[in-house]
Amino acid sequence: MFKNEEMEINLGPQHPSTHGVLRVKLRLDGETITHCRPVIGYLHRGVEKICENQTFFQGQVWTDRMDYCSAVANNLGWAEANEKLFGITVPRRAQYIRTLLNEFNRLASHLIWLATHALDIGAMTVFLYAFREREDILDMNEAFCGSRLTTTAFRIGGLREDLPPGFEKLVKKFLAKFPTCIEEYENLLSENRIWKKRTIGVAKLSAEDAIAMGVTGPVLRAAGVPYDIRKAFPYAAYAEMDFEVPTRTEADTYARYLVRMAEMRQSARIIQQCMDGMPEGPVMAKLPKIMRAEVNEVYHATEAPKGEIGYYLVGEKGSGNPYRFHVRAPGFINLQSLPKMAEGGLIADIVAAIGTLDIVLGEIDR
C-alpha cells in the first residue's frame, strides 16, 4: 500500500469469525486499527413488538430465539420477570430445578464459546472436545423438555413437568466425568504457547471503562469487579447455593478465558448442590385460570452466561398482553465496548476481541 494512507475495510456481515451477521467497519493504518465501528441489525426480527402483541405466556418462545445458545437462561429471566409482575411465589422444588437447568445451560454456552473462540484463534482440537460434552447437556435438555436448543423450559409460576425418571443418573454420569474434561481443555490451551501469544494483553478493557460502558458478565469479572447477579441480587435458588465468583485483574482475553473456565467448575459445584439438596413438593404454583395484569412495571435482571439479561415489562390493567416488553440483552451492551478493545490493536486481534465478548447476534439484534 501507499505510505501514510489509511485503508477502510469491512469485516462481515458474512464472516466466520463474527459468529453471525455482524459487520465491523474498520479503518486501518498498516495492520493497526485506527477506527472501528460495529454495524448491527441484520438479524432484527422485532421480538419486542411481537411480544407486546401476544399474551404473557407466548413471549417465552421468542426468548428462546434471542440467544439461542443459552435459551434456558433467557427463559429463566423471562419467567421471573413475569412472576415479579404478577406477584407469584414459585415452589421451592421448581426453583431448584430451574437453577439446575440454568447451570447446565451456562456450561453449554461456555462450551460453545470455548470451542468457537479457540477455533477463531486457530486452536482447532478443543472444538471437538467441547462439542462432545455439550452434546450430553443437550441430551439432558431433551430428556427434560423434549427439545435440545430452543427449550421453552419453564412456565410462569414454575415448571410444566417434574424431572423425568432417570434424570439423576444422567446428571451423576455427567458430573463424574466433567472435571476431567475441563482439565483436558486446559491441557490443550492454558500453557499453549500460541494461545498465550494470541490472548495475553489482547483486547484489554479496564474496570472503569467496563463499568462506564455497562459491560457485565465474565468480561467485567475478568477486569477485577466481582459483580455476579447470582450473588449480588440472588434469584431462583442461588441464595442457598455455596459458590465463588471467580475474578481476574488482567482484563485481557486470557483472563476472560481463565474466568470462564473457573466459572464452569463453579457451575458443576452448583449442579451437585442442587441434586443433593433437591426438595420434594409441587413444581407449579397455584394460579388463577385467566391471568390479568395490573398497572405495574418491573425490571428483572438475571445472570445469563453472557452477562446481565434484563426484562422490562409494563402491565396494563385487565390486559393479558404486556404493554411494553423490552429486553436488555447482554451482548448488545457488551458489543458497544468493541471499539475500545480493538482500536490501537492489530487487525488479527479483532477476531480475538469479538470472540472474547461471546456475542450471539440473535440477542443483539432481537
Binding site: 463499568i211 459491560v215 451492551i333
Partner: protein, 292 residues
Amino acid sequence: MTEPNLPGSPEVPEAPAGPYVYDYSASPQRQIVMPKTVPLPSLKTYLAEQEAAAVADEAKWQKMLADFEIAKVKAEAEGKDAPKPPVRPVPRKDDNDMKTPWPQEANDADLHRLQERLGDKVEEIFEQAGELTCQVSKDAILEALQLCRDDAALNYEMLADETATHYPVATNFTFSVVYHLTSISRRKRLRLRILIPEGFSPESACAVYPGANWMEREVYDMLGIRFVNHPDMTRILCPEDWEGYPLRKDYPVVGWGQRDIAFREDRGGMIERIALQKAGQLGINHKQPKAE
C-alpha cells in the same frame, strides 16, 4: 404444488388497471389496535383510584340499604313477609400463590436522599414489587443521573438499561423514558423516569454514562425520541431509510408494507404483476419487484 399459469393462457385474471393501491386495512394482522388506557405505574394514581373505588363501593352499599328500606315498607303495606336485609359484599379471596404488588409509600433512604437533594424537581417517589422508582422533571434528568453516580450516599456506578414506552392516550405526555441504574458496591437498583411530550428532546445520558450510547440510539430507532448532545444519533437496528418507528403503538405488527412481496395474500402473483407493470411504465429493467 400446482403448475403456474402461463401468461397468455385464458385462466390468468387480468391485472387491475391503473395504479393499484394495496388495501392495508384488509388483513387483520395489519389492524392497529390502539390502547385505551394509560398504564403508567404511579402511587398518586393508585391512591386516587382506590379512593374513587371506595366512594363507589359506599354509594352502592347505601343504595342497597335504601332499596331494602323501600322494599320493606312496600312489603309491610302489602302484608307480605319482610325481605331479607342486605349483606355487604366482601372482596373475594382467591386461593392461589398470586399476590399483586401495589404501589407503596417510599421507605428507602435513597429515594428520600434524591428528593432532599433535587427538591421540587422530583415529581414522585414510590416503591412497587420491591423496586424503587423516582420520577423527575424532564429537564432535570442529567442532573439526577449525575447525582446518582457521584453522590457518595447513592453511588450508582452503572446504567444497566435505558428504554422508553409510548402512551398515545395520555393527555399531558406521550413517552416515558426509564433509566435503570445499578449500584455494584451497594447492591441496589433504582429506576429514574421522565415523562416527555411528542417532539421533546431530552438530554442524552452519554455525558454521565457512556454506555447509554447504543441504548439511546435504539430508543430513537424504535420510538423516535431524539436525544440532545448525543454523539451519534442514528438508527441502529433498522436501516437508515426506514419509515416510521416500530415500537410506537400506532405502528402495525407487520409493518407498513415494507416487506409485502413474500406475504401469503400475495402468492397469486398479483403484486408481482403490478410491479412488472410499473417497471414497464417506468422503463426499469425489472428483476426484484418492490412493493409500493
